[in-house]
């Protein structure tokens, strides 16, 4: 089977879509299963309950004191994980098992032949690879033949582990676009389905915490001292977490034929580069505006259709102000009436997993009509003056949810979800 590209009737890049209708007939992509592992627990339910109840899973932790970081609020996963696995792979395997079970594949033991995977990660299994290099890569040291190199840079290790475990034979890909990796992975997997490469794609993100990451954000002075306060005037940084999220994306017709649960539709996706700075976002929100505009165009939707935003919302001064500017540019007078949340004070910034976890939030918001709160919000910032759903969950009927992510090197990504 093959798929032919037709000339699309889509807007040019950077131009706002003007028609609510889908620009052309194409394969629709739905979510049929979800799995998560976070500091809130193993499974989507503990994660979602913590989000809705506004209960943080971050705990003061001193284990990275050896990196000079002292006590920090961290979102570490405490639950047992699959044994004998490198940590990022173990997190991803646990999330994947839940997603496949939810999609109804567990009985058959595996997704269908030809299923693929796109996994987003900042470091993947690189920490394990670096550990190997410590032992074998000393200048003048001889390679240890009893200790195989654990993979190409380690970045692809979790994706390869999932592919092996579930017998995937479709496209298996790893995307690494810093903190937008998970969002970019869902975008890439949806594209693979739309282009006809596969009918079923697993997609998600994973990152494990390490001294490597904690010290890096520490020396950038990006870490919160006590708690994470997105969009609050006193916000002073982010808290790091670890975790994994996997969703089963499926061509809509295929999902319906096998009676799979349809949890949400992935309507469109977009990515855009800031072209501004390696670590700081463009103050005018240009990159986010372009990514969201591309996602709207991809969905054949207009800005007016968005009625919930899962923001990147890291709790850093620059990010939260930038996102506020971007949402005002995108939604103009409606911006202040769209509920916006950040779940990062609940589970921390899980880096490559963040966008995938926030995709799960979008699906649950669409399914249940409850928007989780942005906790620790106490003092409004005149520069962040939108509706961030402060401190308490809210019942809102949502038909179209937007998720945005931004990462180092200026990568931005946006996903647009519709109710099933």
């Amino acid at each position: 089977m093959r798929h032919e590209h037709s000339t699309p009737a889509r807007s040019i890049p950077g131009e706002r879509a003007t028609s609510p209708e889908a620009p052309r007939a194409r394969r629709r992509v739905v979510i049929t299963g979800m799995g998560a592992v976070t500091a809130a627990g193993r499974g989507v339910e503990p994660f979602w309950r913590a989000c809705v109840e506004g209960r943080t899973a971050l705990r003061p932790d001193a284990r990275f004191g050896a990196c000079g970081m002292g006590v920090l609020p961290l979102g570490l996963v405490a639950e047992p994980l699959p044994a004998g696995e490198e940590r990022a792979s173990a997190l991803a395997l646990a999330a994947c098992d839940e997603a496949l079970r939810g999609a109804g594949f567990a009985a058959g033991g595996a997704p269908p032949r030809g299923a693929g995977l796109v996994l987003g990660t900042c470091l993947g299994g690189a920490i394990a690879a670096l550990g190997w290099f410590d032992e074998t890569g000393r200048p003048g040291g001889a390679p240890r033949r009893d200790s195989p190199f654990p993979g190409p840079g380690g970045l692809a290790a979790p994706a390869l582990r999932l592919a092996a475990r579930h017998g995937l034979t479709g496209p298996v890909s790893t995307i690494s676009t810093a903190c937008s990796s998970g969002t970019g992975a869902l975008a890439g997997a949806a594209d693979a389905i739309r282009r006809g490469e596969s009918d079923v794609m697993l997609a998600g993100g994973v990152d494990a915490l390490s001294g490597f990451v904690v010290s890096g954000f520490g020396i950038l002075r990006a870490l919160a001292s006590t708690e994470v306060r997105p969009f609050d005037r006193r916000r002073d940084g982010l808290a790091l977490g670890e975790g994994a999220a996997i969703v089963v994306l499926e061509e809509a017709g295929s999902a319906r034929r096998r009676g799979a649960p349809i949890l949400a539709e992935l309507l469109g996706a977009g990515t855009a580069l800031d072209a501004h700075h390696m670590t700081g976002p463009s103050p005018d929100g240009d990159g986010v505006v372009r990514a969201v505009t591309a996602a709207l165009s991809d969905a054949g939707a207009v800005a007016a259709s968005v009625d919930f935003i899962s923001a990147h919302g890291t709790g850093t001064s620059f990010n939260d102000r930038m996102e506020t500017v971007a949402f005002k540019r995108l939604f103009a007078g409606r911006a202040a009436r769209i509920p916006i949340d950040s779940v990062k004070p609940i589970i921390g910034h899980t880096l490559g997993a963040a966008g995938a976890l926030e995709a799960i939030v979008c699906a649950r918001v669409l399914g249940e009509g409850i928007v989780p709160p942005t906790i620790n919000y106490r003092e409004p910032d005149p520069e962040c003056d939108l509706d961030y759903v402060p401190n308490e969950a809210r019942r809102v009927a949502v038909r179209c949810a937007l998720s945005t992510s931004s990462g180092f090197a200026g990568h931005n990504a946006a996903l647009l979800f519709g109710a099933p």
């Binding site: 590209h5 990196c67 840079g153 596969s198």
Partner: protein, 358 residues
């Protein structure tokens, strides 16, 4: 494997290449058998190649140096072909993206930060090093320096990642998400890692790769059919650059990818794929064990089969984009209408195929 096929009117074009391998600059050194031998390092003076003072290069690690220099070579070729990209003073161009692939990405910076950050007082760790530990750093370098604000991604799927970058770029162009994309692969394993792979260490670990792990970068400027047509019209009167030239109208006709750890997808299967064009030559972009290579040569019949690592060393994710540049050079010698199949296989099971032709 399911193929994604582009229609003849929408097939994206390769309009310029920037290729840096141990064999030299461009596809020329790769095209002649026996003219290049495997080596681990690119020995070119990169700042001089870019006509830049070395100041900018001080910010880069080797991964960044190679990626930036390859992009500059590609852009010089594009300028020779007509229009330059917008200058740094202009707003970022939302129609030009950056899709790259790398197997090892910022490995050397990772090693450096890993060692520095274990100092209990963290006095050795440096923000400048940590910033270079994001795998997508080169995408950022290029988008900032060249004001490219379009779509982008860094694929880190092993040796097939560079081919994936070309696939993603081609689809973005065909679907109207961008009008031009810098796409390709960059690998900078560094001398320690390269040395460890020589002499069969990887083989002893149960893998078949025992070749020369080499550094390199290969980037293509890919453009939509409409965008490229404008450039090529203007190219006829342009002066060629000193070490790069405007590429011909090589097109990406189709692609396919799969996870195939058991190596069930043979070259014969790929050659028979309904990929719109007959293949007159095959380029194998990454190290293939001798047994499989022999089978591939039998399957290819009278078609020439080039095993790129024999001429460059193992370029990892830069192999497939370098092979595309070589395909452009080979295509000129083929019968009218014949194309080139570029195949890449990863150690861990990834397989990717690019169907290229006029």
């Amino acid at each position: 494997m399911r193929w994604v096929r582009f229609g003849s009117d929408t097939a994206p074009r390769f309009t310029a290449f920037g290729v840096l391998t141990p064999a030299g600059v461009g596809a020329g050194p790769l095209a002649g058998a026996g003219s290049a031998v495997p080596a681990a390092e690119v020995t070119i003076d990169l700042p001089a190649l870019c006509d830049e003072p070395p100041l900018r290069f001080r910010r880069f690690d080797r991964y960044g140096e190679l990626g930036y220099a390859a992009a500059r070579v590609a852009l010089r070729a594009r300028r020779a072909g007509g229009r330059p990209l917008p200058g740094a003073a202009e707003p970022a161009d939302p129609g030009i993206g950056v899709f790259l692939g790398s197997s090892l990405a910022c490995w050397a910076s990772n090693v450096r930060h890993h060692r520095e950050s274990r100092d209990p007082a963290a006095t050795q760790a440096s923000p400048a090093t940590f910033v270079r530990t994001v795998a997508n750093a080169v995408n950022g370098d290029l988008s900032i320096a060249l004001r490219l604000g379009g779509p982008g991604a860094l694929f880190a799927s092993g040796w097939t990642a560079g081919a994936e970058a070309i696939m993603a770029a081609g689809s973005a162009l065909a679907e109207g998400r961008a009008r031009a994309v810098l796409a390709g692969g960059v690998e900078a394993p560094g001398p320690d890692l390269s040395a460890m792979h020589v002499g069969g260490d990887a083989q002893s670990a149960g893998r078949w790769f025992s070749g020369m792990l080499a550094e390199g970068a290969a980037l293509a400027m890919m453009e939509s059919a409409a965008e490229a047509a404008g450039d090529l019209d203007e190219a006829r009167d342009a002066e060629p650059a000193r070490d790069a030239r405007a590429a011909g109208p090589l097109r990406l006709h189709a692609y396919g990818r799969a996870h195939d750890p058991e190596q069930r997808i043979s070259l014969a299967t790929l050659l028979d794929a309904p990929a719109t064009i007959p293949f007159g030559a095959v380029v194998i972009a990454n190290t293939m064990p001798s047994e499989l290579l022999e089978r591939a040569r039998v399957a290819a019949g009278p078609r020439p089969v080039v095993h790129l690592p024999d001429r460059t060393g193992e370029l990892g994710a830069a192999g497939a984009p370098a092979a595309v540049a070589l395909a452009e050079a080979l295509a000129g010698a083929l019968a009218g209408g014949e194309g080139v199949l570029v195949v890449t296989r990863d150690l861990a099971g990834g397989v990717a195929a690019l169907a290229l032709g006029p």
